[in-house]
Amino acid sequence: MDRRDADRYKVLTRRAVLIGSAQIGLIGVLVGRLYDLEVVQASKYKLLARDNSISLRFIVPIRGRIFDRFGAELATNRRNYRVLLVPEQTNDVEATLDKLGDMLPIDTEQRRNIERLIEERDAFIPVTVASHLTWKQFASINVRIPSLPGVQLGVGLTRHYPMGTELAHILGYVGAPTQKNVQNNPLLELPGFQVGKSGIEKQYDLALRGKAGYRRVEVNAMGREVRELERNNGTPGSNINLTIDVRLQSFLSQRLAAHRVAAGVVLDAATCDVLAMASVPSYDPNDFVLGITNAEWHRLNDDHRHPLNDLAITGQFPPGSTFKPVVAMAGLECGAIQPDTKFFCPGYYKLGDAVFHCWKLGGHGLIGLQGAIEQSCDVFFYNVAHRTGIMNIAHMARRFGLGSPTGIDLPGEAPGLIPTPSWKEKALGRPWEPGETLIAGIGQGYVLTTPLQLAVMTARLSNGGYGVTPRMVRNPAVMAANDMPQSLARPTHTPLGFNRAHVELILSAMKLVTSNPYGTAYDQRITEPQFAMAGKTGTAQARHLKIRTIGLGRYKLVPWIERDHGLFICFAPEDTPRYAAAFVIEHGGESSRAAAIAHDVMLQAQLLAPLARPAASGLYGVAQETS
């Protein structure tokens, strides 16, 4: 062996023995310590473990309430008596549940759910067995509590929606968090804790939830509380003020309810704040809070009219002739037509071998822009579309807010569709055909819009061309706390850069729609001159939807109805527009039925005049409106 290595091996061996001995000694210290704690002092620590342990328990924060723009309560919290079971405090979960079952109606499905929760969660976390007890049930369990180990009675708060079906789509509802939400958030595991599942409740869930408080309590080894040491009540959720006027909302819902499937949106034309937005059929969100039955859930889900969907933001329809103002703006702004351009309408338009018909068989004769909007001449707009080109039309439609979600603070908004040749190439793998530009020019074919988008488009037109974004909530602080974009919290009115004369030309044409006896909505005009509304009718063919919307949307064609969709967009008062609106009746036949709704709603809006008096600001909210 290498001599040098032998030297250092000798040193290393000697020192390794020293280190090894030290390690044995230190392990001995550990053994001694364990002996001291676990044998000598064991009885002391056993006592401590049994009697004197400190635990942290959460306090569920009170969910923020929701008000309308004038402070009317739309979502609130109600007292709710319930029975809880702490699994580890009962020896026999089955027997306890059986006993409770004698006093309360617990069906097998509920029972399975309870047993699943007990299986999944920590044994010391209480599981809700039944809630919304009547006082009699509550009292009868209360007297039997001594013979029911692990059973606790609690008073909780439950969400309540006084407006029921009328605001269901906007407010949404709350429910127990799913297993996916619960992960890594013990707060969500607490019995009775609810999170927003749709609508405003979902969109602003973080702000509404508040911050959990906690209590430090002494508990014994069974986890039962001995006494409370410290308490922090947490922060209740922020209250929210909506832009909605609940009176107008009620009126709109009731007016729409006469139809099978319909939606309507009324906006503040200047700011795009949503004053009323409704969709029928609807559902009662209170059913969900109370724990919806499977049968009811299936009934709602299987209904072909989709009561759970908010048609106003998720329904995608061809806009039909309500799209014509956009096409006219596109033509004017890019110079393809002049304000005085006229075309001859023989009742059809020929492009190559293809013939495109006007809705009026005999044709409109020589007709200008105003007349074409007033009487909704299709041939005029075939000409405009042909000259303007699909790219210019699509660009203009985007400036009006079509073809992508408007950015409203509600979840699940549909984007609609503004077709372009490159879109078609990608989506359908076929090239764009010239005739499709003409079809798009009258708002048919691939073009799809939501009722909200149509209302926003009308608002942007009637306010003189300002790019406003619709919003539901009036508290900037709440919006910021919930990570909503700054642009929504403090709206800016960016001009869209339209030629003012062009806008005025189209607005005056829309006035003719209701004021000229030849106008398509003359019969539905508002006769009181100070409330007069201007608008544009639209009829969208539903028959071809099936073919045209393959792969595009959720919209399902129902075989038993092949009637067209009726649409109407409008603003009022016609000379100084304050209210902009859009109404759609699915399979509503003629547009006149939509215009009839518009007549009633727009008149009511101006009578109620929500924009004429100041909205409640911060009075009802924790978060103050600071703007």
Binding site: D2, R8, V11, L12, L30, Y35, L37, K46, A49, I54
Partner: protein, 384 residues
């Protein structure tokens, strides 16, 4: 004359290497691993999720690494010791710059999908680097002061980086590992005395650099009962868990302290309390005996190696694991302050486990190549 030996054993065929792997040590590691899975299952209230399942996967990966390292030529690790050390330093710097903050300290960096704790890697890298340095240094050179400047720098660089995070426990472990390696290499006794005196003198200065939570933990250790809801909480609850276990424990899955969530970090640093609560003194002693046997294997392998590099690696790794075990158990039983050191092979955590398996792979590698002789470079050329 030295060079002629380097061509000797070393190049065994793979099958032969597998036979000479120290299977006793592998078996002990498996036993401790089984205890780990059982305790993580219990810490999750009798569920495989979230920890036990993933720990099984970590062990599977760990054993793959272990065998890969064990079957590699020892000279490979000698050759790349400094490279590994530099990489570990780089990771520490990266962690310092971009690390995510966990529990008040920058300890983690994300390497693609993998969360890496650079300070874990640094410990093994330090052992490798020091072993390589002293492998090239005969005993008459080791006693010279100027020969010690380079290895001191090897210790200080990672230690200071870890202190910046700030992670007191790891910094302490790193310097202790370094000291042990110096000691084994043959550095004179009186130099350790001086170093110790310097450290004691530096304590009052160092106190000012501590974070508030670290001061709290240290003070809480000295007077736990003064603040039962604050800094002393961990220690009191942990001691109650241990003490209430008694001789035979409360039984598997029956520990009230851990299951009622009195214990923080019950799946990582405080996992020993769950074991001692549920299996009592008997359970705790069993684990300690298993550890002691692992250390014994480590020492035996180190002392039977024919090359200084292998001896230092085996003894260095063994000492490192011992320090982990001692500090962790002393910490949870209230003997030393809570510093955040996991219980090796038992605590939940990917990087720590994989690094340990890598380290044990090195020990096995030393064992496989015990007859390999490496040259001691004579004279003036210390190899840095």
């Amino acid at each position: 004359m030295d060079d002629s030996f380097t061509h000797e054993p070393g190049n065994l065929p793979l099958a032969r290497k597998l036979l000479v792997v120290n299977w006793g040590l592998v078996f002990l590691l498996c036993l401790v691993g089984a205890i780990s899975i059982a305790m993580l299952y219990s810490a999750a209230n009798g569920h495989m999720r979230p920890w036990a399942t993933r720990q099984v996967l970590h062990f599977a990966e760990g054993f793959a690494i272990l065998f890969a390292v064990a079957l590699t030529d020892l000279r490979f690790w000698l050759k790349y010791a400094y490279v590994i050390y530099l990489i570990s330093l780089l990771l520490l710097v990266l962690g310092d710059v971009s690390g995510t903050i966990g529990l008040g300290a920058k300890r983690w960096i994300a390497l693609g999908p993998v969360q890496l704790e650079p300070s874990e890697v640094a410990k093994v890298a330090l052992v490798l680097a020091l072993a390589r340095y002293f492998n090239g240094l005969p005993i008459d050179e080791v006693v010279r002061m100027r020969r010690l400047l380079a290895p001191l720098a090897l210790i200080f660089m990672p230690t200071l980086l870890v202190l910046r995070q700030p992670d007191l426990g790891t910094a302490f472990l790193l310097s202790m590992i370094g000291a042990a390696m110096f000691f084994l290499a043959g550095v004179r006794w009186w130099k350790f005395a001086i170093a110790l005196a310097l450290v004691i003198a530096a304590i009052p200065v160092g106190w000012h650099f501590l974070h508030a939570y670290q001061k709290e933990r240290l003070l809480g250790f000295l007077h736990p009962e003064s603040d039962p809801l604050g800094a002393g909480y961990h220690i009191i609850q942990s001691k109650i868990a241990l003490g209430s276990g008694g001789v035979f424990g409360k039984g598997f899955l029956r520990g009230t302290q851990s299951h009622l969530d009195f214990l923080p970090e019950k799946q990582t640093d405080f996992i020993f309390t769950t074991l001692a609560e549920e299996f009592g003194m008997v359970g705790g002693l069993t684990l300690l005996v298993l550890y002691a046997l692992i250390f014994a294997y480590g020492f035996a392998i180190g002392l039977s190696s024919r090359n200084q590099f292998g001896r230092l690696v085996a003894l260095g790794v063994t000492t490192m694991v011992f320090l982990y075990v001692f500090v962790n158990i002393a910490m949870v039983s209230g003997l030393v302050p809570v510093v955040g050191v996991p219980l090796p092979l038992v605590s939940y955590g990917g990087t720590a486990l994989l690094t340990l398996m890598f380290a044990f792979g090195l020990v096995l590698c030393v064992s496989v190549h015990r007859d390999l002789r490496l040259p001691t470079r004579g004279g003036g050329s210390g190899s840095l």
